[in-house]
Structures are given as C-alpha cells and as structure tokens.
C-alpha cells in the first residue's frame, strides 16, 4: 500500500517543518486570543486568572493544542493514510451518537459533553472526511469518472446528512467546499460552473420574481445559441430558433387570454424554454453539435434552481432562516429580532472607524450588545477596537496564510498530501469568508466560527490539528504517500 519512492531523508524534527506557516499561525492565534480577551474584558472586574473566563479557558486549550500538535508532528505520516477510513467511520459514529446523546446549544444538537468539557464532533468529521477524500483521490490511477464522482459525493453526503439532522446548517455547508479541492484534481469545471449558476440563480430568485430569473436564463441561453449558430453560419436556424421560442409563448398567452385565465409569466417562459430546448436538441442531434447540449444544461439548471429556491424557501427552510435571508436582502426589517445581530454587529464594526477605539476600549463588543460576541461575532471586536487598519491586517494575514498553504500543497509530491492541503485550505477559506461576510452584512447569518479567533476549545483544537496534520505531511513532502 505504501510505496516509498524516495530515499528516507534524514530530516531532523526541525528542518522539514514549514516555519513560515507556523509563524503566520502563531500571529493569528495571538491576535485572536487578544480579541477574545477584549471581548470578555470587564473594566469593573479586572481579574485575569479566573477559571470561568472564556479567555482563560481558551488559553488552556491553546496549551493543550500545542502539546497535541507536537505529538502530531512526531507521528508517522503514513499512518494517517492508513487510519483515514477508520477515522472517518469513527467520526460518523460519533456524529450519529451526538444525535442521540448530544446536547442542544442554540437550537443545534451538535455538542457532546464530557463533564465540563464540550466537544463538537463535526470538527473531527471535517478532518477525517478531508483525509478520506484525499486517500480516495490518491489511489493509483484515480480518474474522475461518473462512478468515482458518485463515490466521492457519497463520502461527503453522509456527514452532511448527519450534520443537517443535528440542525447545524452552517457546518453542513462546509463539506461542500471539498468540491473545490476536487476541481484542482480534475473534476469537470461544469460542476463548479453549475454551482455558480445555482448560487446566482438562487440569490436572484430571492431578490426578484422567479419568472424574471427564468426569463433571464432563457434569454441568455437563446443568445448563446444564436451567437453559436451565427458562428457556424447557420443564420436560417438562428431565425427559426428565435421564432420557435417566441411564437408558442405568444400563442399560450393568447389562449390564456381567450380562456379568461390570469396570464402566468413563469408558465409562458417554461413553454418557450421547452420549445427552444426541443428544437435545439433536434439540431444538436441531427448536426452533431455537442456544444448546444451544454447550453440546454445551464438553461434547465437555471429554471430548476429558480423553482427549487422558491420551494425550498417557502417550504423547507425554518422560520429563523427565512428571516435571516430576508433581512440580508432588505426585504424585511427586524431590528429587535434577526436583524438585531447584524445591526449590533455593524454598529460595533462601524464605530471602529479607521484606527479603532484601541485595545480594551471597545464598548459595543463588551456588555453583550453583540450577541455571541466571543464566538461567531468575534470579528466585531477586531472591527471596533482595531478599526479598518486592524481588519485589513487580519484579512491580509489570512490571505497570506491561504496562499502559503496553496503554495505548500502545490509543492507536494504525493497526491494525498496535495488533496488534503487543498481540502483544508478550502475549509479555512470557507469559514473565513462566511464568518466575516456575515458579520459585515454581505451574507445571511450562518453560525460558523472564525478559525483561531472564535472562542471554543474543540473548534480551535480541530482547526489547529487540521493544520498540523498538513504540516506533518508537508514535512515528508519529498515522499510519495499513498
């Protein structure tokens, strides 16, 4: 199973380790802890050593993490490959167990408690899934076929379902980012493209009417088809396809008018889309033009998304999720309810100005104005006390961190290490992007932590181990691990 092509390098414990990454990591941890301290700082009771204080507990976790990181760095990297399936199954079992004996926090039954220590099994699931995905894709002669894609998606789907059952939508979304890593390894770009269409279509549907989105899809598809047919010098077909689209829709409208029924625009668009599709399909088959089928795929994806979004929004999403989305798009104002989080968060960040109020001088992020001010909304403290300058510093630091990891991943000789590297970059980036965007009102409120910043022992430990596992693999970058 393990093919060791390169000679065993006499790397000492130190010199294989990427100290630049560790330095960036250390910066993030220190800055994160300072903000956690600030968020809990109470000018009245200036007690530092208080076992109850979040910053003190977090410090304990940091120490524990350092110890475990040391252990990881000394472990055998090949073991990770071996243990990946076992770890994956173990984490699934724990996830399932959480559903039974877990503790409910903020509506999500996502916590396991051992005495006073709480643990979120999804952290483990993230690492193990990343490892297993990496292992599957690093198999000899792995190629993206329909079968292997299904296999990989199943690997993702199982933890996603379990986490969704825990009612922890935010964490479930994280598993989607593995698709980005797969893209690096040769997954067709159309999946990402379709994903992009899905997101844009869904947002557009929420902000506008469904039929407008469908009409836009139809128009774009027709335009693409026309341009392509023009390019093929098939102007006859071009005009016919336009006629085929417009005439049936017009006739349907006329029929509805005669029957004195209300004219439904979405119905007209669907009729037009069906006619165009059938016609284009005939052309595609008769003339063997493969490109047209892609046009049709995107067209129907758009239409389906528009319907699905409406349906999911009205029937599947829970009330609080609906309001969060409505608040984001400004459809609804709810300053005391769902809008409260966002408004207080923006007040805190906005009051920071260019250079912030100074360390420990913030007023909004203390006194509980910002809900979850030390977990999901820790970025507010950065915004308030360090201002625009501090925020820029933080974002740039994260970006450097990501690029460094990508750089390292690309340097790996073994596919396993590379895929794993990409997986964790994607996870970090997803957390980073979603968390900060929600605090500054660019995304609906999805409760996921900011890596190394948010209070929470298991998430801090999870993120750190995730990173140190990669650094351990990176130490053996010359080796081919499979």
């Amino acid at each position: 199973m393990i093919n060791n092509y390169s000679t065993y390098n006499e790397n000492s414990y130190k010199n294989g380790v990427d100290w630049i990454t560790i330095l960036i990591y250390a910066c993030l941890v220190v800055f994160g802890w300072l903000n956690l301290y600030a968020a809990n700082f109470n000018p009245e009771t200036k007690v530092f050593f208080s076992a109850d204080a979040e910053y003190f507990k977090q410090l304990m976790w940091v120490v524990l993490t350092m110890v475990l990181a040391g252990v990881v760095m000394m472990a055998d990297s090949k073991m990770l490959v071996e243990f990946a399936p076992i770890l994956y199954i173990f984490s699934l079992v724990v996830l399932a167990l959480t559903l039974v004996i877990g503790k409910e926090v903020n509506g999500a039954k996502a916590w396991l408690g051992f005495g006073s220590v709480q643990f979120q099994p999804v952290e483990l699931a993230k690492i193990s899934t990343a490892l297993l995905v990496a292992r599957v894709m690093s198999r000899y002669g792995f190629k993206f076929t329909f079968r292997s894609a299904v296999q990989l998606f199943t690997l993702l789907l199982v933890p996603i379902l379990l986490v969704l059952l825990q009612n922890d939508t935010g964490s479930a979304l994280i598993f989607m980012v593995f698709i980005l890593a797969m893209y690096r390894e040769g997954l067709t770009g159309h999946i990402l493209c379709l994903g992009f269409v899905c997101i844009v279509g869904a947002i557009a549907t929420l902000m506008l009417d469904g039929w407008i989105v469908m009409l836009a899809c139809l128009s774009l598809a027709l335009l693409a088809a026309c341009v392509y047919l023009y390019h093929l010098a098939q102007s006859k077909l071009l005009f016919r396809s336009i006629l085929v689209t417009i005439v049936p829709a017009a006739l349907t409208a006329l029929a509805l008018y005669i029957m004195e029924k209300p004219i439904r625009y979405d119905l007209l668009v669907v009729v037009a889309a069906v006619c165009l599709s059938v016609y284009l399909l005939i052309i595609a088959l008769s003339k063997r033009i493969k490109y047209i089928s892609f046009i049709l795929m995107y067209l129907w994806m758009g239409i389906c998304i528009s319907f699905a979004t409406g349906y999911i929004f009205d029937n599947i999403l829970q009330e609080h999720q609906r309001t969060r989305i409505n608040v984001l798009f400004g459809v609804e104002e709810d300053p005391q309810g769902a809008g409260w989080n966002l408004k207080q968060s923006l007040i805190a960040i906005g009051s920071g100005g260019i250079s912030g109020k100074g360390f420990l001088e913030g007023t909004q992020t203390k006194l509980n104005f910002v809900p979850k001010q030390s977990t999901d909304f820790i970025f507010c403290t950065v915004g308030e006390e360090w201002g625009f300058a501090g925020c820029t510093f933080l974002i740039v630091l994260y970006l450097i961190f990501f690029f460094r990891l990508i750089h390292l991943a690309e340097k790996q000789h073994s596919v396993f290490s590379r895929v794993y590297g990409y997986c964790i970059v994607c996870i970090f980036f997803f957390h980073f992007a979603v968390n900060i965007c929600m605090t500054i009102g660019l995304m609906p409120v999805i409760g996921i932590p900011l890596p190394f910043f948010s209070y929470g022992g298991s998430s801090f430990l999870g993120f750190s181990l995730m990173l140190f596992l990669f650094l351990r693999l990176d130490k053996d970058r010359q080796e081919l691990i499979r």
Binding site: I349, G350, T363, K366, C437
Partner: protein, 598 residues
C-alpha cells in the same frame, strides 16, 4: 480568494470609514445618562421671609424582574394605598411593559410621591421587598397659604415643552405659571449628569470612564421678591368673599408690594399628587380662582381715568388748571346726555377730580379731540392714544409674572371700523370718563397711580427684587417717561387729595387715614356683567409717596363704598404696620361682607 478579500475590505471601508451612522448609534447604545436633579431655587419676600421651599418626597421604583413574593398588604398600608389600587398599578405596569413603555430590567416609577413619613416606615421593610427601591424627588413647599397667583405652580412638563426645549425630559418639573414660570431658567438650576455603562439589558455596569464626563447638579438661584407677604395676606383677607384685585406698587422703584387676585386658592393644593386631584376642582369653579385678575383681568377704568385725561388736556394746552366747565346733572348736547351727580358748578380742574364730574371731562375730552392743531379727530385721537401708551396702557407692561394681558386702548382705525370713517368727537365721548372700549388691567391701573405719584415717570412694575448671583433685567431699572410736565401732575395730585380730604365734599372721603396724606380717585365702571365695578386708585403719602395702589371689586357698586376703604386699609397696613383701633369698624365691615355669593 483575493477577490473575496477585496469585497470584504470594500464593505469594511464603507461601514467603518464612509457611513458614520453606525458610529453615532454606538454611543447611545452603551452609555446611559443618569440625571441628577438639582433642587429648585427658594423664594423669599422683601423682608426675607421664606415663601417657597422644597420638600423631599420619594418615588417608589420597581424593577419588575427582581420582584419576588412580598407582603402586599404591608406594602399597601405603609405606602398608603389600598389593595385594588395596588392591583391597578401592577396592571398598568404590565400594560406598559407590553407596549414597550417600560422594561422588566429597568426601574420605572411604581408609586409616585410618597411622603417622608411613609418612606421612613417603608425603608425598614424594603429589604423584604426585593425589586423595590425609593428615589428622592423634591416638591415645592409653600410656607404661606397666600400669593398663589404671583408664585404660580410647578407641574410636570408636557410634550410640547419637551419638543421645544432640549433641557427637559419626560417626568421633569417645570414652572407653569407666575414667578415659577417666568423665572423658570433661574429657579430650575442645572441638571447634573452621571454617565454609566449599561449592558444590553440596561443593567448598570459601572461609571463611564471613571466619571470624567459627569457633571454635578447645580441648585437653582434663590429669588427675593418685592412682595410683602404680610400685606399680601392682609389683602387676601380683605378680598375674601369678593371678586376682584388689589395691586400695590412702590412708586420710586416699581416694585410690586402685593398682588391680590380674588378669589384665590392655597398654593399647597397644587403640589405633587394633589394637583391632579385639585386642579379640576379649581379650574371648574365658577369664580375662576386660577385666573390672575391682577394681570389678566380687563376692566374699564371708569372715573379713575379722568386723571389721565386731565393730564393729557393740560399737556396739550387745551385746558389750564383754572379752566372751568359747567355741569347741570350731566353733559347735554342736542339729544345726547351723559349723566352726573349733583355738585357745585362750574368747576375748575382740581375740583373736577375732587367731584369726579362727568360733564367737565366730556367738554375737556372733546377739546382734546377737536384740537385745531390736528387735521381731524382721527389724528387727535392717535395723539391721545400715544399718551396712553406712554402710560403703559394698551400693551403689556412687561411685568415679570407670566401671562400678563395687554388691556385695550382703541385707536382711530378701530373707531373707523366701528363707526365708519368721519366719526365725530361726540361719538367717542365715553372715553372721557373711562368707559367705552377702554380696558385696563388692575396692574396697569396701579402703575398709573405710581406714575402720578412719581409725577411723570415709572419703572416697569416687577415682583422680583433680587436674584441670587445675578441681577434683574435692565427693563426694571430703566425709567419710562410719559412726556407730560411734572407741574401738571401736581395739579392732578391736588385734585386727588381733595377727593379724599376735600372740606366741602369729595368722592373718596371713605379713604381717609388719620395722619397720612393719602390721595385717591374713585371709579365706578359700568360693565356688561352686572352691577358696576367698584374701583379705587390711590397713592400715599402725598409728600413722598411710598405706595401706589389700585383696587377693583367686581360688581360691587360705587368705588367709594368698597374699593376706597379697602385701599385705605391696605395703605394704613403698609405704612403703619397695623390698623388703628378706631378704624376696626371699617375693617370688620369689609371682612364680613360677601359680595360674590351668586
């Protein structure tokens, strides 16, 4: 990734650098102003007697969330309410919480204005009643049951005041009338502010920046009034059972010595919780005790006004002190007849005041209006009106007591409106004897007396003599001249002295005070509200006037019957400190008479 980072930075730049609305709301979010209420300034009378002070009361506050079971019966008994009231209070609190007018975390007033005695009992039991505590407020305390109209009262601010003046917040007290209102700025002092940090539920988390921005409350300035509270009380005693007004002014300073408006009320009725109870009773009383007749009442001046017409005629040169006019029970011209009482005829100017001859002033007034100096009657009337304005009539005098009325002096255009253009002097001849459209407040009348006493000038009447750490408005220390020669005033003063002391007969002999050269002029004003008003205008002593006074008794009859003796008693009280025993009969007659019993 870099793109996402740029999006974030763009958004952050907007939120943190460009849009400053967030910055503003952050401050009000976490900082709470706790207002320190200053104590209101004290008010003294001219002799240093304390008139108005403050008394502490306690608002029982409640923090609903912290309330546990408590002995509600004991609470009721201690605070002085009954169980249904308590239940009602809780019900209202619940309603307010539902309507977001109150918070379960923040204190709100539960029982208002509990007295010190009850509070001291409650204090010992508060430890058994978690969620309740007491907050000190101050209410006014009136040391004398008098001078209600001058002092005014204090009430909670209304929405209008809050909107128009940023100083006030809901629940603050503000002077509503009288001195309390016109000297509100001086009396209220400055509120102090404590900034406290509060958390999201409004709970206190300590002081803001160790109190660096806190300010102390500054007590209001004390006022010393020119009022003589003994004279004021005596005046109110004399006016009991009557409707009307007494205003006395010290001529050489313009200080108001007393300002009685009858019927009056005890200012203590309008303190704190009692106000909501008593105000409706007072405001619906048919005698209108809340109405300050001294500065708000409009009355025709009647014959007292003849003094002014005499002065104007002399100054205009249309009459001399020796000018004589005949009178045979009145003034008759064609079909026009203005009646007069029987007296010797013809009369010169001094005698015309002594006998209050209507005919004399009909002739005299018409010569003023038909003066060839002026193009027509209109122009002459406007000249006449200008004299009155210089006497302080027709406009607000500018007294430092709130809600003064201006009275009414008809102008030429006004008569144009009533009569049409081209009216003759005969048409307005009733102005000669202070009837017609002419209306004066008792204060204006007293000021006329002071002006005559000063022989041609006056200081704007005022009730506040001294303001602690400040000076009174220069308006009250600037002489105002009438534009009439001092010599002419001597003539009118002679006439007024004769009216009281005249050997052959005078209209105001009832005003005589042994040993005091009191001068006066009666008035009996016809009015559309019933019997004539009894009026007297006076000053004393003639050689160096110390008091000028006007007395109005509504619907009481002749000026000589009621107003003159009242003025006489007031002057005697002020100048001698007490009423001579041989004049007690006069005092008793006044005290025992009820004139406004409808």
């Amino acid at each position: 990734m870099a793109l996402v980072g740029l999006c974030m930075l763009g958004r952050l730049a907007y939120v943190q650098l460009i849009d400053n609305t967030y910055q503003l709301s952050a401050d009000s979010n976490s900082r709470r102003k706790v207002v320190q209420y200053p104590s209101r300034g004290l008010i003294y009378d001219r002799n240093g007697k304390l008139l108005v002070s403050n008394q502490p009361v306690y608002d029982i506050m409640i923090i609903p969330r912290e309330v546990h079971e408590f002995d509600s019966l004991d609470f009721c008994n201690t605070v002085g309410i009954d169980m249904p009231t308590l239940r009602q209070l809780f019900q209202r609190l619940r309603q307010n919480i539902n309507r977001h007018l109150a918070s379960v975390y923040k204190p709100s007033v539960f029982v208002r204005q509990v007295s010190v005695e009850r509070y001291s009992m409650l204090q010992e039991k508060l430890y058994k009643m978690p969620g309740f505590y007491a907050q000190r407020r101050t209410l006014r305390k009136y040391e004398y049951p008098a001078a209600a109209h001058v002092l005014g009262y204090v009430g909670e601010v209304d929405d209008n005041a809050i909107k128009n003046n940023p100083y006030y917040a809901s629940g603050d007290y503000i002077g509503v009338s009288g001195i309390e209102s016109s000297f509100e700025v001086q009396l209220r002092g400055h509120k102090g502010v404590n900034y406290q940090m509060v958390d999201v539920l409004g709970r206190q988390k300590g002081s803001f920046r160790d109190g660096a921005y806190d300010t102390l409350a500054v007590s209001g300035q004390n006022l010393t009034l020119s009022l003589d509270i003994d004279l004021q009380m005596y005046g109110e005693k004399l006016m009991a059972g009557k409707t009307g007004s007494i205003v006395a002014i010290r001529p050489e300073t313009g200080e108001i010595l007393c300002m009685v408006s009858a019927p009056s009320y005890d200012p203590s009725l309008l303190i704190g919780r009692d106000r909501s109870l008593n105000f409706p009773i007072l405001s619906t009383d048919p005698h209108e005790p809340l109405y300050n007749r001294a500065i708000q009442g409009w009355y025709p001046p009647g014959s007292t006004f003849k003094t002014i017409n005499a002065l104007i005629g002399l100054q205009e040169g249309v009459v001399t002190p020796e000018t004589k006019y005949p009178c045979s029970y009145g003034y008759t011209l064609g079909h026009f007849h203005m009646g007069c009482h029987g007296h010797m005829s013809p009369l010169n100017l001094r005698q015309s005041i002594q006998h209050s001859c209507n005919a004399y002033y009909a002739y005299e007034f018409r010569t003023i209006l038909d003066n060839k100096k002026y193009a027509n009657v209109n122009e002459a009337l406007d000249v006449w009106k200008d004299y009155l304005v210089r006497f302080g009539l027709g406009y607000r005098l500018g007294v430092d007591i709130a809600n003064e009325n201006r009275g009414f002096v008809p102008s030429a255009p006004y008569h144009d409106g009533v009569w049409g253009k081209g009216w003759p002097s005969l048409g307005v001849v009733s102005l000669a004897i202070g009837q017609g459209e002419l209306l004066l407040t008792p204060l204006q009348m007293a000021n006329v007396a002071a002006t005559i006493a000063n022989k041609g000038w006056f200081y704007t009447p005022h009730a506040v003599h001294r303001i602690q750490d400040s000076t009174i408005d220069s308006l009250y220390t600037t002489k105002r001249y009438t534009g009439i020669d001092t010599a002419y005033f001597s003539v009118v003063q002679d006439g007024m002295e004769l009216a009281v002391w005249g050997a052959d007969a005078g209209t105001a002999r009832g005003a005589q005070i042994p040993g005091i050269r009191i001068c006066g002029k009666t008035g009996t004003a016809q009015n559309p509200h019933g019997r004539d008003h009894s009026i007297f205008m006076s000053f004393a002593p003639k050689e160096s006037p110390e008091i000028a006074i006007s007395v109005y008794v509504e619907n009481a009859g002749f000026g000589a019957t009621w107003a003159a003796p009242i003025a006489s008693l007031m002057v005697e009280k002020y100048l001698k400190g007490e009423i001579a025993p041989n004049r007690k009969y006069m005092e008793d007659r006044i005290l025992q008479t009820v004139l406004n019993d409808q």
